[in-house]
Amino acid sequence: MVYVTSQRKDIVRNEGFRTVIIMKIDFSGLESTAPLCGASSEMFDGFSTSPSFQIPDTTDFDDFQKEAIQMVKPAKGTTTLAFIFKEGVMVAADSRASMGGYISSQSVKKIIEINPYMLGTMAGGAADCQFWHRNLGIKCRLHELANKRRISVTGASKLLANILYSYRGMGLSVGTMIAGWDEKGPGLYYVDSEGGRLKGTKFSVGSGSPYAYGVLDSGYRYDMTIEEAAELARRSIYHATFRDGASGGVASGMLCFIMWDQPDGRSYLVMTLGNFTICTIQLNQPLSSRRCPKLEFLCYSI
């Protein structure tokens, strides 16, 4: 058999012989003039290969596709979300810790209490998140002592964003949301290790966040009850853990809300995690005129 390659790509008929004509696509324009071998060949040590356009090699197409997907995929292997609604701010997260392809723990606590009225979520490097949230808690306490008033969520998130910005490019991996309650009511900020800081009403961070956003966006209403908000948060985390390999374990959520005018005449700021109340703070002045129903214990786990 004779293979005929034609630059002009027309089919050549040849009566006498049985020839098989294959039209070969002309790749010569994409080839570099420098040798294709890299550093492995000693002969070409003195020469540097000029960059050439990489064509997916058909024998290795899966790897090429994987690399292309990895490039687009957000890097932090977790799913966390938070949103503000009528009653307060709901914070939820999964509980899986993964090291590459190995699941190192299914019961990691990814919602960190910075101080009694502010929560942070952990996405990215666990050590980075824990350390810097602890550090932020210290700075918030110092602010309270120096100024005789609690720091606002805006201020706390700005402190953290400035710290992370100064370490920009040094390999910190932090994708966190600062959620809390201050004099202006509920506050939610997204802060990341590139130095970005965004104020918003709902965020989701991590590799499972696109999945969680879908469920969260379609089910979100500002005037939800606490039960509806807990259910929405739980479902969003659940669907994200179903589809995303790096998220899983248990969906847990923390709710930060206010109990008004209790029988003893006081109002309380409460933070609950599942069946457990993390803290209850007595409030001396009313913070806003919005009211919320009596405390409900909520438990959500997969």
Partner: protein
Amino acid sequence: MECVFGMVGKEFAVVVADSSAVHSILVHKSNEDKIMLLDSHKLMGASGEPGDRAQFTEYVQKNVALYHFRNGIPLTTAASANFTRGELATALRKNPYSVNIVLAGYDKGSGPSLYFIDYIATLHKVDKAAFGYGSYFSLAMMDRHYRKDMSVEEAIELVDKCIIEIRSRLVVAPPNFVIKIVDKDGAREYAWRESVKDAPSVA
């Protein structure tokens, strides 16, 4: 994906920026304000890496305010543009900021002015400027339809034409834009052009 552009009209200057905060393929929010008021008569629209953008524009804003406090008179637009460029240039060889800036201002003596400041500290005083993928579309539109001394209505018409073009032709077009204007009465927000509404922050 981030589009910032601006132009000078008759006794005013307008700056337009998209308002989506994006991380890889995810849009975190679509109502992020990327045009900062430097002082009462200056606007700075910035695009680039989110951390750099917020931090650098705030740094310039605070330094402009500091000059005003120290010396009792505000900086001119030209002076603040040159200060911005100087800061970018000093940091360029050590720890560069990746922010592209369109700075617009109104001075009592010289009227409106617009400055194009690149991330590698290029500075040009221009009549129309644009950054980002949107610049491919908005620059051509502005070149075609821009005239000196346009009125506010004509300029906003041209801005809307650019926004429509960006929305229809750019593959990852941002849905919402914010328009801010500066004239002798000061710098202020003029309008939003929204095609996707984010959830309101208060009921």
